[in-house]
């Protein structure tokens, strides 16, 4: 059995807004969610900018009811809100979800409380696990020791009574893209009729950001203010971390048409790969990235010269952007088609949602196809000779987008690409 898979619902919570419509409006208008940021109470943390969710607005909109007041990680809160939004957007409240509906999400490392291990220090000043265990009732249930990677997928499935498979993908910054790709495959092969797919993450806490900082991943520059995320620019200096969630409802064409659902676009292909190179750097020739894109196109049965746009991973790191450029040029080499691609880097506006990143970027890809507009790559002011594609700098471009590719490449060379095309009956 091989069925077509369509997108029928969207949900997003991110620095650009608390629903997918606001996020898309921000992307098209070239607004940036990047702002001055420090861990709570700290004023000299080396990382000065991030793209956080507006907590007050989130609380006002999603904080009450449906158990949202229970202790839970930020990523789970954001993910539950985005999932509810996507399921409502798909019209399941009116028609009911198909009986065989599952859940697949990508998540990263559990959130950490910098003070959690103080519970291990006894009155004598000596730390011990026995002391921590004895004081376990006082530990924060919303972070650190009680956080597990399956909490979001299982939470969504339980809350919305989705009895299909519930999966959590752990593939670093490609987690959401893998979740979406595997959800797509499960529908295509007939295992389920619909999947709630996406990702949620929040690394904006001191311990996790310190770990990233020590790897040299985030930019510590103060030169560009909120124009710091500069994918493909000569002066890019590292990723700008973000938090949030995005979810999509994928559905078999048959199920969507039977429900009379609004169809936004078709997910046509998925490809993944490993760099098989180094844990600390992408393959310098972009072999893994190119393999993922090529496999996704082959999976979709789409020739490279039919692609109009690439939603790039585009992290604004010194290593990723030229490597991704090279991989795009390899995949779209025939007839130098890469010269005709509109390549966009949403992270210049959203920041890097880490494990969730692939989900808002796939939503942007879907809406690019639906609306015929490619969001811009912001802050591309000084071109890097090693990054010589058309990155749609500065402002959005109205153009027909029949087929688009969305890329997500994780730490250690864990890669995923998705192909989206306009839906035609």
């Amino acid at each position: 059995m091989s069925r077509r898979v369509v997108v029928t619902g969207l949900g997003a919570v991110c620095g650009l807004g608390l629903d997918w419509q606001t996020m898309w409006e921000g992307l098209v208008e070239g607004r940036s969610a990047v702002r001055a940021w420090q861990p709570p109470g700290v004023d000299d943390f080396p990382v000065k900018y991030a793209a956080p969710v507006d907590d007050a607005a989130f609380e006002a909109r999603y904080g009450a009811g449906d158990g949202m007041d229970r202790p839970m990680e930020r990523r789970v809160r954001f993910g539950l809100a985005a999932a509810a939004q996507a399921l409502a957007d798909a019209g399941f409240a009116e028609t009911g979800a198909p009986a065989r509906t599952g859940t697949a999400v990508g998540s990263g490392v559990p959130e950490r409380d910098p003070y959690e291990l103080l519970h291990a220090v006894g009155e004598d000043g000596q730390p011990s696990w026995a002391t921590l265990y004895a004081d376990r009732a006082a530990l924060d249930r919303a972070s650190g020791l009680f956080c597990t990677n399956d909490a979001l997928a299982a939470g969504i499935a339980a809350r919305h009574e989705l009895r299909g498979p519930a999966l959590n993908f752990s593939t670093a910054c490609a987690g959401a893209a893998h979740a979406i790709g595997h959800g797509f495959r499960m529908i295509r092969r007939g295992e389920v009729d619909a999947m709630l797919v996406g990702g949620a993450d929040s690394v904006l806490n001191l311990p996790t950001m310190t770990g990233l900082l020590l790897l040299g991943a985030p930019s510590t520059s103060e030169l560009f203010g909120n124009r710091l995320c500069r994918a493909f620019d000569r002066d890019r200096s590292g990723l700008v971390a973000a938090e949030g969630a995005a979810m999509l409802v994928l559905e078999s064409e048959e199920s969507a048409r039977r429900r009379g659902a609004r169809i936004l676009a078709e997910v046509a292909g998925f490809g993944s790969s490993l760099d098989a190179y180094q844990v600390t750097a992408p393959h310098p020739e972009g072999h893994g990235a190119a393999l993922a894109m090529s496999r996704a196109l082959a999976d979709a049965g789409v020739e490279p010269d039919r692609v109009d746009s690439v939603n790039a991973h585009g992290t604004s790191t010194p290593l990723n952007d030229p490597v991704e450029t090279r991989a795009i040029k390899d995949v779209f080499a025939a007839g130098e088609h890469y010269r005709r691609l509109a390549v966009t880097a949403n992270k210049t506006m959203l920041g890097h949602l880490i494990a969730a990143a692939g989900a808002p970027e796939l939503i942007a890809t879907v809406l690019s196809v639906r609306d015929g507009v490619v969001p811009p790559t912001l802050n591309l002011e000084n071109p890097d000779p090693a990054c010589d594609l058309d990155y749609v700098p500065g402002s959005a471009r109205q153009q027909e987008v029949s087929v688009a590719v969305s890329n997500s490449f994780g730490f250690g060379g864990l890669n995923a690409s998705l192909v989206v095309r306009g839906y035609e009956q």
Binding site: V109, L118, T148, A157, P165, A166, H182
Partner: protein, 388 residues
Amino acid sequence: MTALDTVLLTAPGVCTAAGTDPAALWEALLAGKDTSGPSGIPEGPATGTAFLVDDPDAAALGVHRRVLRTSEKQARLALYGARLSLAGPAAHGPVGGPGWGLYLGLPTVDEELLRFGALDRLRRVAGSPGEVAALYAREVPPFSGLSHLNSTAAAHVSAVFGLSGAMAAYSPYSDAGLQALIDGVLSVAEGENEAALVGAVSPKVHPLLFVQYEELGWNGVVPGEGAAFLLARRHGTGPAGDAPAVRLAGYGRAFGADGDDRAGAIADAVRAALEMAGTDPGGIGWILPDTVWTDSGARAQDAALDRVFGGAAHRPPAFTGERATGVLGPAHPLAHTVLALHGLAGNRRLVADGDAVREEELPVPRVLVLACGVRGQVCSVVLEGVVE
């Protein structure tokens, strides 16, 4: 013939407290050998015994020592399990390349960021967030951003063995191991990979893990450490000979949050696997259920098996390897898959008889393996004996 029929699961690589050989695991279970030892955990639900394995060093892994800086014990166990699995295929031809994929079941990494030696300083500066940040910058291990990221295990295995095919990694509980098995086999069946290394590792036995487990309802089942790997490859593409192999004849996946809903989900997943395998409860010769570590989950699994197999004329015996391995998290169902492969190859099964274990003939060459995630995720597979 379905696409699944074209794929073999072979080349078992297992590392548990019972050793690194499937036959040794089988024999340990049969002999009732005590492979447990002190857990090293001072207080809490896991106090007492555990089934621990040594942390593999660079020499055992065949890697440069710098790999140890960016890995935690569970990533090193993944490398070790992968090495054990790929040793046989590597002796007969090249391993790796763009046609070789990787599918892993991985626990969350449970490890403190600040070592105990820094906690006194943390306490002294706790009122000053700026000084806390400075302390973290000084004391957090420089590669913790990688070693605490569970998917780094996939990056290491990929880099060491040159696997650049299609991939996925799942976490954090036992269902993750079977998700990896199912999708790894499907990746070969659907032509995405020529071969796929499928594996899973346990969490390391660590005090933080059991604070978390207790919150989720841990019932005191003894924890273990280990890894289990297999290779999914096409029929006829491996070495000639009598390498034991099984095929994934059917699978089912579902979710049920709790109580009767969970039992229903498990029963649905088992029935789906049986239906895909073209068989019924009478066509199963051995059941390797999950060692579910919450009482409610264990009750749900028992109820589900009663629903599906209660009416069978000869109900197949259920057996778990926990008495020689402990509970292995994501690696548990894959260790069971290795046991199934061993049993199917010799047409034997293990049957618990009180505290004793006996071996008997396997009446039909099909084994059911189950995995139940702690929050209600369910996977089941039917494995069938194959002679290549």
